[in-house]
Symmetry: C2
Subunit: 381 residues, 2 copies
């Protein structure tokens, strides 16, 4: 078999460091690498969907999604200019929502995507897959990677069409504050020329532990929002997400989506409809995360590690000793301490020297993992 | 709101003629436009999946899919060189499988896709979305659009990297015969230079009514196969498909798939696993289609219309009177006869003058629809 020449854009995408480390997991490992909830989903939503498909079968929905679900999503968030169903495209998880957003909004011949870093690697990989120029703008380590409007604004160049911001942030667990968002948006609105768009990845929205979290779509009309029920409702495997955007953008995004996946799974859409129809269901796991966060911060306080107190998401990040690189550290922790943690370098060069810990597992094991990392760092430091 | 300049590749994709006509449907309409089964899915597969997710939750699977499902698919088809799980990428329907196949295999800077026409419009639209050059090669109307290896071979040019063949065919309901496939493959193997790949869309495989249907993957090592449980098991809304390809191609395709949708829905994968674990389940609706086909051919025989006897799929195509264009005819049939049929022009210029009828609805209504079309044609001819 001759191995063929394939699309170089696909071949050149580097492998995932997160999966490289996840591959070191043993049955005994303390796993702080997980990027998904360990809670069980609420059965009533699954059962409601099952009743629907037993009665009606599993037919295609329109490409953009079940109109009732689109309306429910638009109404729930009620973002200015996006409160109608024509603002919503239901997708295969927020991953496809982000992919379609980048593919629709950016012209590979002309436009550049700016990614606020540290960042989940998917944004840059999606852009590269499309042949879209992509650049990162790093937040300041000395400020625990707080979202800094000045840094973002000064990184915007003549080709920058859109800026991706994940808040609450994977990996830093920082949240974009109202003040920072106001400063960013006011400056963007004062610029001349074509608007610079903001793509707000809100997937950790229901895991927010501060009161002044900003919703960019409430402040700035050139905002796209991606989200899903994956993290809020422990439904990562359901692959049900959505893109919220001004109607003309959504209309084009639906065209791209239609030829990529046709439509989202009808069963999954019925699950989501049950969630949106049930008051408070998007927040049904929120108190669990808030309680777990308190325990994690206590454990980190006691550990002696430098850490970033989580403002949102289900991650916490810790600083390795000066001069210790994160990828070999993560391998050593897996081999020597049986702890899985994600190396900061996976999220961009600005996060070198850090580890991302997730705290979704059983709390005694999370705490034991933190203690082992602290011990390892004391020996290495 | 300034409507932004978006990616021209997305904006330039034309709207769907199939949906334009579907939009004319009234509650009373005789709908011969449908592209999906009207049978109900077998409940046991859904219930098996429900038990699994109630017990285990809905977690991500690996990007490529549940290893057990990948093995089950590879083992079931047992295509030469593709009998291991590393040949399978589980996708969001066969739509994503085709999208990922085109994206992975073809370099937009260099390669051309050749589509055997008449063809479902998605292949060309996917290629255009990727900036990949695409050309159609029309089969011969005088031969009822039988797959003609000579026509396909003579259309292959220096840039042709892959040829898409849908057999059983949507729309023509023709099936690629063993003899035609042998002639095609022998000639491709005699060519020098880089291999020309075949992408076989097998989605109507379980609706085959002839004995000599060819499976290209059994004959030619440079074959990719896309398929799903959508048509075989009345599960269009489940969005569960797969790409089968030689392992090096699959490995690259999984990378693209990982950044587009992450992984397929875990519930849907459990449904598919139940189907592959149940002997004969992929064929559980086959006898219904075979019986319905007999009734449809009888009705078409009596109608006086020129038609192509279906060798596969759940379509039948009829010729409009000479000089009658298919799009206005379809609109007139919807308005005057309350019959929904898809205009041939939707499947390429070679199918102008034809209508595609689907016969998945209640048979008396299908027959009534055929009679009304025949009456309309007699008046128009």
């Amino acid at each position: 078999m001759i191995v063929p020449a394939l699309n170089p854009r696909v071949l050149e995408i580097p492998g995932s460091l997160i999966r490289e480390i996840a591959g070191k997991k043993r049955p005994s490992s303390l796993d702080l690498g997980l990027g998904e909830p360990t809670l069980m989903p609420t059965s009533t939503h699954l059962q409601a969907a099952m009743r629907d498909v037993e009665a009606d079968g599993l037919r295609y929905t329109p490409n953009a999604g079940d109109p009732e679900l689109r309306r429910a999503i638009a109404t729930h968030y009620a973002y200015p200019g996006m409160a109608g169903e024509d603002a919503v495209c239901v997708t295969t998880g927020s991953q496809e929502a982000m992919y379609v957003a980048i593919k629709t909004l950016l012209d590979p011949a002309r436009d550049e995507l700016l990614v606020v870093e540290p960042a989940f690697p998917s944004y840059a990989k999606m852009a590269r897959l499309e042949g879209v120029l992509v650049r990162g703008v790093a937040m300041d380590e000395r400020d625990d990677f707080a979202f800094d409007p000045e840094r973002i604004l000064s990184a915007i160049g003549p080709r920058t069409k859109a800026v991706v911001i994940c808040s609450p942030c994977n990996p830093t667990a920082r949240v974009l504050s109202q003040d920072a968002a106001d400063a960013l948006v006011v400056a963007l609105q004062r610029r001349g020329g074509d608007p610079v768009w903001l793509i707000h990845d809100e997937i950790y929205r229901e895991q927010t532990y501060v009161d002044d979290a900003a919703s960019l779509a409430r402040l700035y009309p050139y905002t796209l929002v991606t989200n899903s029920v994956s993290k809020s409702n422990a439904l990562t495997g359901l692959r049900l997400g959505w893109l919220l955007a001004p109607a003309p953008v959504t209309k084009a995004a639906i065209k791209a989506h239609a030829w990529i996946t046709s439509c989202a799974d009808t069963f999954a859409q019925r699950v989501a409809l049950s969630i949106f129809r049930t008051p408070g269901a998007l927040q049904e796991h929120a108190s669990w995360y808030a309680a777990a966060r308190t325990d994690v911060v206590d454990a980190l306080d006691k550990s002696g590690l430098r850490f970033i107190a989580p403002e949102g998401s289900f991650y916490a990040c810790v600083r390795l000793p000066a001069g210790v690189a994160s990828l070999p550290a993560a391998h050593a922790l897996a081999a020597d301490e049986d702890v899985i943690a994600v190396p900061g370098i996976a999220f961009g060069p600005s996060f070198e020297g850090w580890l991302r810990l997730s705290w979704v597992g059983p709390m005694p094991r999370v705490i034991e993992g933190i203690e082992r990392i602290a011990k390892w760092c004391r020996a290495a430091g």
